[in-house]
């Protein structure tokens, strides 16, 4: 018995060490590989430059539009994903009759399990042609618009919004379910309607859980590469809805293969920028969780 305990302890220790080693080595490596370009290209020129022409005779490595695209794209996806996600969670946890909830919830979980390449494929085959039709309608009179064939920021935002839904819905549902029944009963007892109870009592009480879901959704949207690489067009442009755009993730994915020299170094810097963003998201998450614990 004693021996078993000791062995188990060491097995756990080894597993934990693997994870910790991975985190530290990845962080170290990203900084090691990502910082040289900041020096050779120049911090301002790299981070705030707007022209991306890495293979030109006189190359420029401005990734500002790429950073902006990731921020705008993620924010817009959340703007669509959060209301839908939270309301769906309310539906599952509070409104839907039990049999219906029993269908909706597994469906949402299935949504989370679909590989991102499938989202990309459907986006390319269904969403892009639709977007192209919309683009032709909207810009029918424009003489300056650069037609993208539907592969644009808007397509990417829609795909990202759908991809963040399961994260938001699942976490929000469980945090709504965790609101004590006594609070709900009290609210109903003083004469509040069911909808009033949901919006004035339950959602505020589940706030920190919902925020956690949102932040995790941000992380998912920010880190997604495969799906949006297929629908976003991939030319580096200012992030307007009907522009072909490139995200931080897709930038690395699409150009790593044939890059060399400074171009490659800059791609590592792009990775580092993404890494820093994700770190910020995680710190935010840790803070939220702590706050949630204090409240509870």
């Amino acid at each position: 018995m004693r021996k078993g305990e000791t062995i188990a302890k060491y097995i756990f220790l080894v597993c934990a060490v693997v994870a910790i080693l991975a985190v530290f080595s990845i962080t170290g490596y990203m900084i090691y590989k990502g910082t040289p370009a900041l020096g050779s290209v120049g911090v301002t020129e790299l981070l705030f430059g707007t022209e991306w022409a890495p293979t030109a005779k006189d190359p420029s490595y401005g990734i500002f539009y790429i950073i902006l695209t990731s921020i705008v794209g993620t924010a817009a996806a959340l703007l669509i994903g959060v209301p839908i996600g939270v309301l769906t969670a309310v539906f599952i946890a509070e409104v839907a009759p039990k049999p219906l909830a029993a269908v909706v919830q597994p469906a949402v979980e299935l949504l989370a399990a679909i590989p991102s390449v499938i989202y990309g494929l459907l986006g390319k085959m269904i969403l892009n042609p639709l977007m192209y039709k919309l683009e032709l309608l909207i810009f029918a009179d424009s003489t300056t618009h650069k037609y993208t064939g539907g592969a644009n920021l808007l397509s990417a935002i829609l795909v990202l919004a759908i991809m963040t839904l399961p994260t938001i819905i699942n976490i929000t549902t469980s945090s709504i379910k965790a609101v004590p029944a006594s609070m709900k009963s009290a609210s109903l007892a003083v004469g509040a309607t069911r909808i009033q109870t949901i919006f004035k009592v339950i959602i505020p009480a589940a706030k920190s859980g919902i925020m956690t879901g949102v932040v995790l959704g941000v992380g998912r949207a920010l880190g997604e590469a495969m799906a949006i690489n297929m629908v976003a067009g991939g030319a580096v442009n200012i992030p307007l809805p009907f522009n072909s755009v490139r995200f931080l993730t897709t930038q690395v994915v699409s150009e790593m293969a044939y890059s060399s020299g400074v171009h490659r170094q800059v791609l590592f810097t792009v990775g580092l920028v993404l890494f820093v963003f994700i770190m910020i998201i995680n710190l935010l998450l840790a803070k939220l969780k702590k706050k949630g614990e204090v409240e509870a």
């Binding site: 597993c15 022409a53 293979t55 390319k124 037609y147 064939g149 699409s254 044939y258 171009h263």
Partner: protein, 298 residues
């Protein structure tokens, strides 16, 4: 108690399995490599028992566009002749030919024909392969021919509607490859529109370009000649269709030779270098060249 031990065992087994799998990954590649080697060795002994005994070095430098070709040739050649080491640097066509002239490498790689002044110092142009690029549009497009000027104008954004080049009143969606792609480099270089292109879509694979052009009405894209299929239409340029024959005959604009230049004729080179060229011209070598999507010169 029994349960606990069971759990413990499961965990241990899982850990063990992971390690074993990781190990497996390694060993399988190892054994693959071994297999390849032994295959190559047996082949070598079949072909010519002395092949494996030739030792030497082949150094080359030059065109970045030829990286894929050189990599493939290096791999298969060195498997067949384990005694010969082939090293390649990708410094650009001009730099490669300079290294050749300076005598620091055996072969200077260039993805263009040699200039007269480069030939003047004794460099000999050995064309090993030809790279062809097809311009493709969606199958519903009525435009079947473009001039090089029209094509350049489409890609730089001067022409934005198919009606300007004799097609329907339809917007042009300009599809291309990502920065760093060899196909993009060659396309822009041959049309002399380097870094002047206004792309609507920059995709990171040939397949992506094909799929996008096939699915988008009014799209135009460029891909390696060998991958063109029935989902898209290849347009002719200046009235010349994108076919292997036209490219070999030198009539089709979007093609370029891949040259492995040597100082003096091949017969004057070291035994290792001669073997390398012999390999390139063998059926096995031709297979390698075709496998990376290139055309065999006559």
């Amino acid at each position: 108690m029994k349960n606990r031990i069971k759990k413990l065992l499961t965990i241990a087994a899982a850990c063990g399995l992971t390690v074993a799998m990781m190990g497996c990954g390694d060993t399988s590649t190892d054994s693959n490599a071994d297999q390849k080697n032994s295959q190559a060795e047996s082949q070598a002994t079949d072909d010519n028992s002395s092949d494996a005994n030739i030792t030497g070095k082949v150094t080359m430098a030059g065109s970045t566009s030829m990286e894929k070709l050189c990599g493939a040739l290096q791999e298969t050649f060195m498997a067949k002749y384990p005694g010969i080491t082939v090293t390649a640097e990708f410094t650009g066509s001009g730099a490669g030919l300079e290294s050749l002239a300076a005598g620091s490498v055996d072969i200077g790689n260039a993805s263009r024909a040699l200039k007269d002044e480069e030939k003047a110092n004794g460099s000999v142009e050995n064309i090993v392969a030809i790279d062809g690029i097809a311009v493709v549009v969606d199958t519903a497009n009525t435009v079947t021919d473009l001039t090089t000027e029209q094509l350049a104008n489409i890609y730089t954004g001067t022409i934005t509607n198919w009606s300007e080049v004799g097609g329907a009143d339809q917007n042009i969606v300009v599809v291309g490859r990502e920065a760093g792609s060899g196909t993009r480099g060659a396309f822009e270089e041959l049309l002399e529109i380097e870094d002047a292109c206004a792309y609507a879509q920059e995709l990171d694979s040939t397949g992506g370009v094909l799929a996008s052009v096939a699915a988008t009405p009014g799209a135009i894209g460029y891909v390696s000649l060998d991958v063109v299929d029935s989902t898209v239409t290849a347009v002719s340029l200046n009235g010349v269709a994108a076919t292997e024959e036209n490219i070999i005959a030198g009539n089709y604009v979007l093609s370029r030779p891949f040259v492995m230049a040597t100082m003096g004729e091949i017969s004057q080179q070291s035994e290792a270098v001669q073997k390398f060229f012999e390999f390139i011209q063998s059926d096995e070598g031709k297979e390698v060249i075709k496998a990376v999507g290139l055309i065999i010169p006559e």
